[in-house]
Each structure stands twice: as structure tokens, then as C-alpha cells.
């Protein structure tokens, strides 16, 4: 029979753990609310951007940006992987990396090299061995678009200079606070909008030159997609952490209940033993 004292101290330590996980759960819940607001607020920009770019894909433009052109041979592809900086958020990052690795493995099979850019400490640690060409970590809860530009530029330049022939984005999609699904989307070449049967024969008026405007627009477009991904990932991270911490708190509660049962049994046994000893002692005297 384990000593009463040991069981008591074990219960105490689990109770402390439970307090911590409970606090983390509540912090994550309130951060999630703010992260979701930010995610919803940045959505219109990305949406409008997508609309403008699909208008452009449909129009008959004098200058075709290189991001619209499909290259014949693919020798090297780029990946931008968005993860969280911190752990303790359930399987969020692991699931994402699994998805990314699957996709990378497919390219490797075809003898295509892979360049990786990462956002977040977790992805950096996981993909170090593949050779990370650019990284941004420690973005915090409120990233600005400016913080992301460096890493994105590295990949866009790589595409422009022909070092990579395709660019993918690996991110978590926020379905609802219980579900987050990892997904891989192709950033460049821009996948044409699905309604390509209505090709229009108009072109824009440009101010200033078409090349200048479209170059800027396309860069902004990719940036806005990545920014959206980052903001969404923060919402995912917070809700995944909330769920993970909630189940940790529940488990701690179950464990405490079980240990209390053992403790009470042990206490009961000790009392019973003591009584029987006293009774036996009294009987011996008589």
C-alpha cells in the first residue's frame, strides 16, 4: 500500500498542473476571439484582391505577368510553410507537417528539388534538415504585413529568376474552433479562375505603365494570401491550444478523482488496521 503522504503530494502536484492548464485554456480562449476578429477583418482585402486578379486573368491584357505563365518543365519547387511559434497546441503543427512532407515527397519522387521558406519556430525546427532558404519567427499575436515581406520576397525573387518553377503555400484552414485542416495550395503560377469560358476582350487603362502596376499588384496579391494564412494560423493555434488544454484539464480532473479514491481506500485500510490492532490488544489483556 502506497504511503498516504505520497498520494497526497501526488494529488497536490496534479492539482497545480490542472490550475496551469485551466489558465492556459482561458488565455487561449480569449486570444482566439481576438485572432478570429483579426482574421475576419483581413478577409475582405484578400477577397477583393482575388477578385481583381481574377478579373485580370479573364481580361485580354497587353502585358502578361510571369506569375500567370505555366512553365513547361519543373525542376525545383518552393514551399512556404506557416506554423506556430509555440507548442502545446495539440496535433496542429504535426498534422500540417505531415501534409507538407507528403506533398514534398511526391516532388522528390519525380526528382524535383525543393526549397522551403518557413514562418514560425516549429516549422523551422521540423524542416531544418531539408535546407530552409528563408525564415521568419517570433511574429507574436499581431503580425503586421511588413514583418512578412522579407521571406516572401526571397521566394518571389527565386521564381522570377527561374530558380523555382512553382510555389506552394502550406497552411492551416480555420474551419471552426473545433476543426482545423491543413492544406497545400499553389500560389504561383496563379491558378486561373474557374469561369474561363467568358473570356473578355477588353484591356485596362494603366497608370503608370502596365508592367509597373501589374508587378506591384501581383506581389501584393501573394503577400495578402500569405498574410491571410498567417492570421488564420494564429486563430487555428489558439483554438487548437484551447481544445488541447481543455482536455488536459479534464484528464487532470479524472486523475485526481482516481487518486482520491485510492487515497481514501488507503486511509480506510489504515484506520481498520488500527482498530483491529487495538481490539486484539484489549483481548490479549483480558
Amino acid at each position: 500500500m502506497a504511503g498516504l503522504k505520497e498520494i497526497r503530494s501526488q494529488i497536490g502536484s496534479i492539482q497545480n498542473t490542472k490550475k496551469i492548464t485551466k489558465a492556459m485554456e482561458m488565455v487561449a480562449a480569449s486570444k482566439m476571439r481576438r485572432a478570429r476578429e483579426r482574421m475576419d477583418a483581413s478577409r475582405p482585402y484578400a477577397e477583393k484582391m482575388r477578385q481583381v486578379v481574377s478579373h485580370m486573368a479573364l481580361g485580354h491584357l497587353e502585358y502578361q505577368h510571369s506569375f500567370f505563365k505555366e512553365r513547361d518543365t519543373v525542376k525545383r519547387v518552393g514551399y512556404i510553410i506557416i506554423s506556430s511559434d509555440r507548442g502545446l497546441c495539440g496535433g496542429l503543427n504535426t498534422n500540417l507537417f505531415k501534409k507538407a512532407l507528403e506533398s514534398i515527397a511526391e516532388w522528390k519522387e519525380k526528382d524535383v528539388e525543393v526549397d522551403i521558406a518557413v514562418f514560425g519556430n516549429k516549422a523551422l525546427a521540423a524542416f531544418k534538415r531539408f535546407g530552409v532558404v528563408a525564415e521568419t519567427t517570433g511574429l507574436g499575436d499581431k503580425p503586421g504585413v511588413n514583418d512578412l515581406l522579407g521571406t516572401i520576397k526571397v521566394m518571389l525573387d527565386a521564381y522570377e529568376e527561374g530558380r523555382i518553377d512553382r510555389l506552394f503555400l502550406v497552411e492551416n484552414e480555420f474551419v471552426n474552433s473545433m476543426t482545423q485542416t491543413p492544406r497545400v495550395t499553389q500560389l504561383i503560377p496563379v491558378v486561373a479562375a474557374e469561369m474561363d469560358e467568358i473570356k473578355h476582350h477588353w484591356d485596362y487603362l494603366y497608370e503608370p505603365e502596365s508592367k509597373e502596376v501589374i508587378d506591384m499588384l501581383m506581389t501584393r496579391y501573394i503577400e495578402s494570401l500569405v498574410y491571410q494564412g498567417i492570421v488564420e494560423n494564429i486563430a487555428c493555434e489558439m483554438s487548437a491550444r484551447m481544445i488541447a488544454m481543455k482536455s488536459a484539464t479534464d484528464n487532470a480532473g479524472d486523475m485526481i478523482d482516481k487518486l482520491k479514491l485510492v487515497y481514501n481506500k488507503a486511509r480506510q485500510a489504515a484506520i481498520t488496521q488500527e482498530i483491529s490492532e487495538i481490539v486484539a490488544g484489549a483481548a490479549a489483556v483480558e
Binding site: A41, Y45, V52, L205, Y206, E207, P208, V213, M216, R220
Partner: protein, 140 residues
């Protein structure tokens, strides 16, 4: 009733305006642009300055720190870098920003990578101050 078009003003952080307007005045990089409904397709970059639009309830003024505007005959989309409602503009903050940018430019070599960024910042601050003064005049 006057002809109308749909205007969307969004910045990366939030959606500023979405609704029906009769006329738009935008600060294009090559000069100010007046957009009326049924304008032909146009795409332009914006420089820091004032974006005005006329709704049926009157004129509204916004400050944009650059961005892109896409014009379709019945829809206009402004993708602003940052957009601030005119009444939220803060003259003190703008002047501080201008001072900071000017100080940063002192003794900087124009080849520096930051040079362009700081210069853009300076221009944005100047445009903000100018706009505050103009609005201030009309309010008084």
C-alpha cells in the same frame, strides 16, 4: 436619380467602406483621378493622399497611404495600404512621423535599401498633414 456605382475600400487590416457612390476622387500616382459611373476599365497605383467619394448622404473623405485602385464600369475597388477616416486623423502623430522620417533621412545614403521606404513614409506623413489642414479649413 444620379447614376451610381459600387465602391469597396479595403486595407489589409480591415474593410473601410462598401456601398453605393456617385463619384470618386482618388490620388493616382500620376495625378488625381475623378471616376464617374461607367468609367472604362482602369487600374492604377495610388500615392498617399485624400480619397473622396460622394454618397447620397454627402461627401466622405478618407486618407490612404498608397495602394491600388481597380475600376470596372460598375464596381470600383480600392486596395489601400492603410486607410484612415478623415475624422480619425491625428495631426500630432503625423507631424511626429514626418519629423522621424526626416531625421532618419539625414546622413543616409540614397543607395541604402531603407532610403525608399523612409522616403515613402515621409511623403505619407506630409500628405496627411496637408489633408488635415485642408479639412480643418472646411470645418471651421
Amino acid at each position: 436619380m444620379a447614376m451610381t456605382m459600387h465602391l469597396d475600400v479595403v486595407s489589409a487590416e480591415e474593410s473601410i467602406y462598401s456601398g453605393v457612390v456617385e463619384e470618386i476622387l482618388a490620388p493616382g500616382t500620376l495625378g488625381n483621378l475623378g471616376i464617374m459611373p461607367r468609367h472604362s476599365q482602369l487600374i492604377t497605383t495610388l500615392k498617399p493622399g485624400e480619397l473622396r467619394y460622394k454618397t447620397k448622404d454627402g461627401d466622405v473623405s478618407l486618407f490612404v497611404a498608397g495602394g491600388i485602385m481597380e475600376v470596372q464600369p460598375s464596381i470600383v475597388t480600392v486596395l489601400a495600404d492603410t486607410a484612415v477616416r478623415a475624422e480619425d486623423l491625428d495631426e500630432k502623430a503625423a507631424q511626429d512621423a514626418q519629423k522621424r522620417a526626416e531625421d532618419a533621412l539625414q546622413g543616409k545614403d540614397p543607395e541604402d535599401i531603407d532610403y525608399e521606404a523612409i522616403k515613402a513614409e515621409l511623403e505619407a506623413a506630409k500628405a496627411q498633414i496637408e489633408m488635415i489642414h485642408r479639412i480643418g479649413k472646411t470645418l471651421r
